[in-house]
Point group: C2
């Protein structure tokens, strides 16, 4: 069974790691949001790619979910002392990744190939693909109308401003990275990881050809909400600010064009009926991933759910 | 008394630090070799500027002479693990300097201004100027005829190949950095620091206008050789390979166009007569700088020697 997962940040990386553990080598492709990518201190940073890679390599910082475990911060501390920008946390070992990526991009390298090389060096046997090699920039419109760069909103302003809408600059002209469409076309099941639908999954879905192909695929999502709350990040806050009740139904509605099944937490069992009325089959289980064992167990349940769905429909 | 020092690497930085201690704020300009500058892992590195800055800021690695004291090497160790180039040692705190410089250059900044800003942040009250803001690349021709980039020869090949000549790519069209000619014109004394004449001082001297103006100035040099040996670096080896006896006379001959006086070590006292015959007045003292006190004492003797010379001639 060939699986494609769509993933953004920390929650997505955790399920991706579960799938990686649950599947034989060579069966998993992870397509990753690059709308958060930005340049900081001259370094090309791809936060979601790195979070997935570090997690699959087993070196992620367990407390943060992003960055490398037990990393030091000598470079950024010194940049701060020298009056440089230091609002985005970068560990020293993490900076090595960014230096290699930046140099390769400056020499005309493509992000998918650079990512492949880094994965090889980290011993990662899944195919990790950026959604596109071309620039796409997630922008967040805040109350009053101003548009912020994603990292400005997400990190620098700590998600404090009230959100009114999102756009993905460059998305309409960006092509899927090499390998993305082939992986989707060959996929027996597409898994939408428990990432933020607005700012982690929507940037991927809007890349031309991706959303249309999903309509022809078996697609299951794992809810990023548990009891109406996000495990991490501003998703609940965003739903409230957008005037939408944060619920599993809101997640299903977000993916209504192509979603077949939704995995929700036992705490949200009461939503099963409304989801059924909405045409979505649910799988109820414990979806909070506290450790690597949880990730694998949840991934196995997601894969099993996908198999059953294919028989049902 | 306004002083201009010409300096390259570690020995030059040490005397520059002595002059910095010996002179009141605002009286010292140091013009620094940039022929060794290169790009490594995408970072714009200016080794001689950094060595002088770190030394004047009192944060230099005392064992190496270059780099920052007690620096860690997390970034480069990780770059090595990821298959990147790691033959040039870069500490983590040192990398902060290179990131700030690289970003500023990419944004159109000029090296003299970038250096000025970094010095401000490091609390350095001397004027530290690159010889030029334009690209000059020191090349070393080795036996067999091949030309090597300086850092390839100096660090990667550890000065092992036999040297037959040098050139400084771009030197003939490069302009002195803003401030260089003004400082030289206003200088009451020019001090050639005990740096390698072939690869640290010659790149500076060949920048148009610099050598001609020196002929009109009081110029003293401190010998980089003690008993025919360099304290650090490949100078003695170079002299031998070029078929020249490494001596204070060879140093004086190198600077014959403009040199007035040479400070030599007590161990080389026997050279005084031949130097006198060559038209050079010598000052004999202990020129090995083992600590900050030695640097200041030697600098004071150099300044005093300069004052005496001006009365003599």
């Amino acid at each position: 069974m060939k699986i494609v997962a769509l993933a953004g940040g920390v929650g997505g990386a955790r399920l991706a790691h579960g799938l990686y553990q649950a599947l034989p080598p060579g069966k998993l492709t992870i397509i990753i949001n690059t709308g958060d990518d930005f340049v900081f201190n001259g370094l090309n940073i791809s936060p979601d790619i790195d979070t997935v890679c570090y997690t699959l390599a087993g070196i992620e910082n367990i407390v943060n979910g992003w960055g490398i475990r037990e990393d030091t911060h000598q470079v950024l501390d010194r940049i701060r002392d020298l009056g440089g920008e230091a609002w985005f946390s970068l560990g020293d070992r993490d900076i090595a990744t960014h230096l290699i990526r930046t140099q390769a991009i400056d020499q005309g390298g493509q992000l998918n190939e650079i990512t492949r090389q880094l994965c090889l060096r980290m011993g990662i046997e899944a195919q990790i693909l950026p959604m596109t090699n071309e620039p796409v920039h997630t922008k967040v419109q805040i109350k009053g109308g101003r548009w912020l760069d994603f990292q400005e909103y997400f990190v620098h302003l700590d998600c404090q401003p009230e959100v009114i809408s999102f756009r993905f600059e460059g998305q309409e002209i960006a092509n899927p990275a090499p390998g993305v469409m082939a992986a989707l076309e060959q996929a027996d099941l597409v898994v939408i990881c428990p990432s933020n639908p607005w700012v982690s999954i929507d940037p991927i879905l809007g890349i031309k050809q991706i959303r249309p192909v999903l309509a022809d695929k078996w697609v299951v999502a794992v809810s990023p909400l548990i009891g109406g709350k996000a495990v991490k990040g501003p998703l609940m806050k965003m739903y409230n600010e957008l005037g939408i009740e944060p619920s599993c139904l809101a997640i299903a509605d977000h993916y209504r064009d192509f979603l077949d099944g939704l995995v929700i937490d036992t705490i949200d069992e009461k939503e099963t009926a409304s989801l059924k009325a909405f045409g979505i089959i649910t799988k109820i289980t414990d979806i909070l991933m506290k450790d690597a064992g949880d990730r694998k167990r949840l991934a196995e349940e997601v894969l099993e759910f996908g198999k059953i769905l294919k028989q049902l429909k």
